[in-house]
């Protein structure tokens, strides 16, 4: 079960001719796929297209009705490989994953697909994770399109344009026998808006029917000499065909009047460009611009004659291209040079080479360009600003950073608390991490793990240390990473090389960081997928015998002891600890409504929550350095004798148990307590409780009679 359910929204995917769809970009993309007769869909989740996978999973009924096959692929490589169905069969297929990391993983399949060429439209929807909110290294997927000869679409970020781009992509793919990448940026995926819908189309040939009439053609196989033919085919036939198609169907757009200056912009940067022009008084609310724009909805390949026609008669051109290197600007420069054009080309320089083009960057970049190229166009206030603004105090030293971290009650927290305790005992270790929520442990307060080499590659990243040494290397990997790529790339690597290292599989029952999707070892019932396949069984299968399964990660003492054992045992070979407890976010989502309903229905329910005795807490914050839980915070006491704020647990506590376990295992302090509130207690429980309270009350009264008390009357 994914973190967010789209069951309600999925109903809008049934809208037909004349309807209006209102919603998010990813839903619009899904609707567009159905309107364009897609035959199969798949992919691998990851921001910003995680929700696209969730939408597809929630739309399985509808997909089934239309005869569309849906796969939740094991990883991006598997997703890209699935597009092989479009090589021989005239079936439209679409897969989605994040870029550039997903494209990296998929690149083997993508390169083979591009070489073979396609018969049916093949579409890769890449969620480009660049800029604010990104969780990965900052790179561009653009280079992959160039090296493998994929066509790359980057539509204007509004729903009608995105929907149209899906249809254009399929048509372009089929017209040129070339797979197409459709790039959507972080915010385009989640941008909301409206578009006019059309009827959904059943695929002309379904994948099921294709199996009744199998096809093959060795000319499509990537083997010499056919591969040499493919290479020539890409350049001699597919490329010109693509340029002709783009031109004939007007995929790129020109806006604005004829002028001496112009802007060439990636489709995805169009809205930001218009906003900057609006603020400079050069465009209106509807995008009516005084500066001509050449909008590249297709950023690869470029169409030289179309571009030269736009450049004709202009003195200055600005290229707005986010990220580095500036592939488009370089290519446009070459086109101009070959055409012996005299227009001056601006781009990087007015704009920064690297980093996201935020609203501020766009405004300043375009303003800087126009100040040089066409100062007459700018309003007087921009040319000579009369700044008399109040000085706003600098808060950059006051406001703390707020990086992401483990959620309240996260089952991974106690694992890292245990690791910190073991490191206090045995010293610092070489620790490699993977991709997933567990990577937050590399940040304070834990600071565990110094590198991540990619999804499923945590233990592989310790390969150089497999031979062993004074202290064993430790690798951490999540269950998501384990099934994505970890079993083959990390664990067989450890087993085959007789690694002496330790690996911890942080198993929270889901691919949690990407939004709580099910995977092979999920404990949930899933009617369409095979779940409940234990990780430990897979490990045994690849010949790893030292495996310890921990089914309650909150037992910090046991975690610590098991880890210590793994680090000190004399057993040769890899030592793997599978630490399993359910992702608290998902658990609460599932159990909270049930609990509320049970209480309402009068059934007995125990609800645990932790607390801190503020008189006993001394304000040393040692517990926080082993936790970092959002619900474990500090409060200042109104006591002139106390200097430091004391620990305090707010009502968001889910009673996971970590605080008590850590206080015990690390021998911290006796301030923590757990209160279990019993809703709808049985009659005997109430009687017993009343009896206890009576005795306790008497003891308290006895003591109160012998001493002074300064308490607020109870």
């Amino acid at each position: 079960m994914a973190e967010r359910s789209f069951k309600a929204e999925v109903e809008h995917l049934r809208l037909g001719d004349g309807g209006t769809f209102t919603g998010e970009g990813i839903l619009a993309l899904t609707k567009a796929l159905l309107e364009n007769g897609v035959g199969y869909v798949g992919g691998y989740q990851g921001a910003p297209i995680s929700h696209l996978m969730d939408v597809l999973a929630d739309a399985q009924d509808l997909l089934g009705e239309l005869g569309v096959r849906y796969e939740a692929n094991a990883n991006e490589a598997a997703a890209a490989a699935m597009l092989a169905a479009s090589v021989h069969y005239p079936i439209r297929g679409a897969v989605t994953f994040k870029g550039p990391v997903g494209v990296n993983v998929a690149s083997d399949a993508l390169a083979n697909l591009a070489s073979s060429g396609v018969t049916g439209g093949a579409l890769v929807i890449v969620g480009e994770d660049y800029g604010e909110g990104s969780s990965i290294m900052q790179e561009r997927s653009h280079a992959f399109a160039m090296k493998s000869q994929f066509w790359l679409l980057d539509p204007r970020p509004n729903l009608p344009s995105i929907v149209k781009a899906v249809g254009d992509s399929f048509a372009l793919s089929e017209a040129t026998n070339t797979p197409v990448m459709l790039m959507v940026r972080i915010r385009s995926c989640h941008v909301t808006g409206q578009f006019a819908t059309r009827d959904n189309q059943r695929p002309k040939l379904s994948v099921k029917d294709a199996l009744s009439a199998p096809r093959s053609d060795f000319n499509r196989v990537v083997l010499p000499p056919m591969s040499y033919v493919h290479e020539q085919d890409k350049i001699k036939n597919r490329w010109p065909a693509a340029q002709a198609f783009i031109k004939a169907h007007g995929l790129n757009e020109v806006f604005g009047p004829d002028a001496k200056v112009g802007i060439v912009v990636q489709g995805g940067m169009y809205n930001g460009t218009i906003r900057a022009l609006q603020r400079l008084g050069l465009a209106d609310i509807f995008g009516e611009t005084q500066v001509p724009l050449y909008v590249l909805n297709v950023t690869y390949p470029l169409v030289p004659d179309e571009f030269l026609a736009f450049a004709a008669g202009k003195d200055h051109l600005l290229v707005i291209e986010e990220g580095q290197p500036e592939f488009i600007e370089q290519a446009l420069g070459a086109i101009l040079y070959r055409a012996e054009a005299h227009v001056k080309l601006h781009g990087k320089g007015a704009f920064p080479m690297a980093g996201e083009y935020t609203g501020t960057v766009m405004f300043q970049g375009i303003e800087a360009f126009l100040k040089t190229a066409a100062p007459g166009m700018l309003p007087a206030v921009v040319r000579a600003p009369n700044a008399d603004k109040p000085q706003i105090p600098d808060l950059s030293k006051t406001v703390p950073i707020r990086p992401p971290g483990f959620c309240t009650g996260c089952p991974e927290r106690p694992i890292f608390a245990a690791m910190k305790l073991v490191e206090q005992e045995l010293g610092k270790h070489q620790i490699a991490a993977d991709i997933g929520c567990h990577l937050f442990a590399s940040l304070p307060p834990f600071e565990i793990g110094g590198a991540t080499m990619g999804y499923g590659l945590g233990p592989a990243a310790n390969g150089a240390f497999d031979g062993g040494g004074a202290r064993r290397p430790i690798a951490i990997i999540g269950d998501g990473g384990f099934w994505h790529n970890g079993l083959s790339s990390s664990f067989t690597n450890m087993a085959f090389n007789k690694s002496d290292g330790v690996a911890i599989v942080v198993d929270n029952y889901y691919s949690a960081a990407t939004g709580g999707q099910d995977n092979m070892s999920s404990r949930a019932d899933n009617t369409t997928k095979s779940t409940k396949n234990p990780i430990s069984k897979a490990l045994k299968g690849v010949g790893i015998d030292w495996v310890r399964q921990i089914d309650h990660t909150y037992d910090v003492g046991k975690m610590r002891d098991t880890l210590r054992e793994a680090l000190t045992t004399n057993t040769p070979g890899p030592k793997v600890i599978v630490a399993s407890s359910e992702c608290m976010l998902n658990k609460q989502r599932r159990e909270k409504p049930l609990r509320v309903a049970a209480i309402k229905a009068g059934r007995r329910v125990e609800a645990p929550r932790f607390g801190v005795d503020e008189d006993i807490c001394t304000g040393d914050h040692a517990c926080i350095r082993l936790s970092g839980c959002p619900s474990l915070s500090l409060k200042r006491l109104d006591d002139p004798l106390r200097d430091d704020p004391v620990a305090s647990i707010d009502q968001s506590c889910v009673g996971c148990g970590n605080c008590g376990e850590v206080a015990d295992a690390a021998i911290l302090c006796p301030s923590f307590y757990r209160a279990d509130v019993v809703h709808n207690p049985r009659a005997w429980e109430q009687r017993l409780s009343a009896f206890r309270l009576r005795i306790i009350g008497r003891l308290q009264a006895r003591r109160a009679a012998r001493r002074l008390s300064f308490e607020v009357a109870p």
Partner: protein
């Protein structure tokens, strides 16, 4: 509320006047997405075209995350909206936490010419603030001062507490504040309709919405910055008890009244703390110690004695097993927890305590001479440790555990003969003698007195605190002759509170050693 009416609005194309730009800066998990979709539905339901964007990703896991909405009246041609806020171009900024308000100001989203800033004043502390051994909490007052300058209009209240009080979440109370601000051209009923359309939990949301609405309208709706629930000041609580004890208590409080006001401000709660810890005789001892410092304090403001009154009380009321058992068995604690957990007569509560005694705690309770002997013997320490050093979870609502704790608290009568007490007394005397030894340098003596702050926590943390205390005092000895010795002492103490391992202190001590 601040209104920078004097500032002229930025020159802009009049056709752009129609776009309202609204950003929400929230902490992952605060319901920023819900708030955004309400705003969007509100706009669409009232003749506006709207677009919302968000950054979904790992930032939603407790990190700072931003949502952005643009809207304008529906027209035949679709408008072009931007996908992210730009510095200097935001009309309404909603921040769901005080430091996020600061972040929005840093990012330039709050400008005096146009921005209405709606912020909750409560704090969701960042990990970096919480993990410091000292007080690492960022200053809300600084952010508030900047917000007053940066925003054209500022609406602030503890919208989190308001929402919780209504059994809802902050998104609803902030939505109420947005309605009250009048920054959006929609009537309040339209806001409520947007909530109602959401269905699930609408009733609680509406209550929180109205609470937010009212708080934003009343200028006194602002709660003190950075405060959590109001706490009854310790000094304001009157003593209660048997008459003969009350009479003795009056004698002691009369002695406090004879102290200079600055000293009494600390000595009054100090006396209470010490008497509460032990008994009236111990309180008298405390006052004697304070008075003896006062006798040597020639500074005009009695600053040395005031600080001594504070820290002597803390040193005398040390954290031992007896004190913990006493505090855990009090009636007031029982009722406090029950109130916090929402327990009424229809519910039953179990309370589990987490104890992990070590040999040190056990030996500490023994008579001083026996304790000292066992403490000096590694064999005996190990033996006692083997028996007692184990995590113990006690159900203090049950009679067995309660009676055990009650009995432990009863050991108070023997406390003054215990090994731990002897240790604490010796430490206290040594610390005070060291501090007063620096007289007539009052500033230095005061700073040394304040170093007592370093000793806190239990077990390892306590040991580390003691070692930091010793190292700081050793550092002080090196610079005692310098004119700026007091300043160096303060710096050393603050360095010691920076991090757990004492890296900052090591650095500071190296500096001190380099010039001494």
């Amino acid at each position: 509320m601040t209104l920078h009416a004097a500032l002229p609005p930025l020159p802009q194309d009049p056709r752009l006047g129609g776009i309202i730009k609204l950003a929400v800066l929230a902490v992952g998990g605060q319901g920023g997405g819900v708030l955004t979709s309400w705003i969007e539905d509100l706009a669409r339901g009232n003749g506006y075209a709207a677009q919302a964007t968000s950054v979904a990703g790992v930032a939603q896991r407790t990190g700072a995350t931003i949502y952005y909405v643009e809207m304008c009246p529906v027209s035949p041609r679709p408008p072009v909206f931007a996908l992210m806020p730009a510095a200097g171009d935001v009309d309404i900024m909603i921040t769901s936490e005080m430091m996020e308000a600061g972040r929005s100001i840093i990012r330039g989203f709050v400008t005096p010419d146009r921005t209405t800033l709606i912020t909750s004043t409560h704090r969701a502390l960042a990990v970096s603030e919480k993990m410091m051994p000292g007080d690492g909490i960022a200053s809300s007052a600084e952010v508030m001062a900047a917000a007053e300058i940066a925003a054209r209009r500022l609406i602030s209240a503890d919208f989190d507490a308001l929402a919780i009080a209504q059994g809802s979440v902050i998104s609803a109370s902030l939505f109420g504040a947005l309605a009250a601000s009048g920054a959006l051209p929609f009537p309040v009923q339209a806001f409520e309709a947007a909530i109602m359309a959401g269905g699930k939990g609408a009733e609680a949301s509406l209550r929180a919405f109205r609470a937010g609405f009212e708080a934003a309208q009343s200028p006194v709706g602002q709660s003190p910055v950075g405060q959590t629930a109001p706490i009854v000041p310790a000094a304001a609580i009157a003593a209660r008890g048997p008459a003969h004890l009350m009479a003795q208590w009056q004698t002691l409080t009369a002695r406090v009244l004879r102290l200079p006001a600055q000293v009494a401000a600390f000595a009054r709660p100090g006396l209470q703390k010490v008497v509460d810890f032990q008994d009236l005789a111990y309180g008298a001892e405390y006052l004697t110690r304070v008075e003896s410092v006062l006798a040597r304090d020639t500074s005009p403001d009695h600053g040395l004695t005031a600080q001594a009154a504070k820290y002597i009380a803390n040193a005398m009321a040390y954290d031992d097993v007896i004190r913990v058992a006493d505090l855990k068995t009090r009636a007031s604690r029982q009722s406090r927890i029950a109130a916090e957990m929402g327990v009424d007569s229809a519910k039953v509560m179990h309370v589990t305590e987490f104890f992990h005694p070590r040999a040190e705690e056990i030996i500490g309770m023994l008579p001083a001479r026996l304790g000292a002997k066992l403490d000096a013997s590694p064999v005996w320490t190990a033996r006692i440790d083997r028996i007692f050093n184990k995590g113990r979870r006690l159900r203090s609502d049950g009679l067995t555990a309660y009676v055990l704790l009650y009995a432990l608290s009863g050991l108070k009568s023997r406390r003054r003969r215990s090994f731990r007490h002897a240790q604490e007394q010796a430490h206290l005397t040594r610390w005070l003698d060291t501090a007063l030894g620096y007289l007539p340098n009052h500033a230095l003596a005061t700073e040394v007195v304040k170093c007592r702050r370093l000793i806190k926590g239990y077990s390892d943390t306590h040991t580390r605190g003691l070692s930091k205390f010793d190292r700081v005092l050793a550092g002080v000895a090196l610079v005692a002759k310098r004119e700026d010795a007091a300043d160096w002492t303060r710096r050393l103490r603050e360095a010691a509170l920076q991090d757990e391992a004492g890296r900052a202190l090591d650095g500071a001590l190296q500096t001190v050693a380099s010039f001494s």
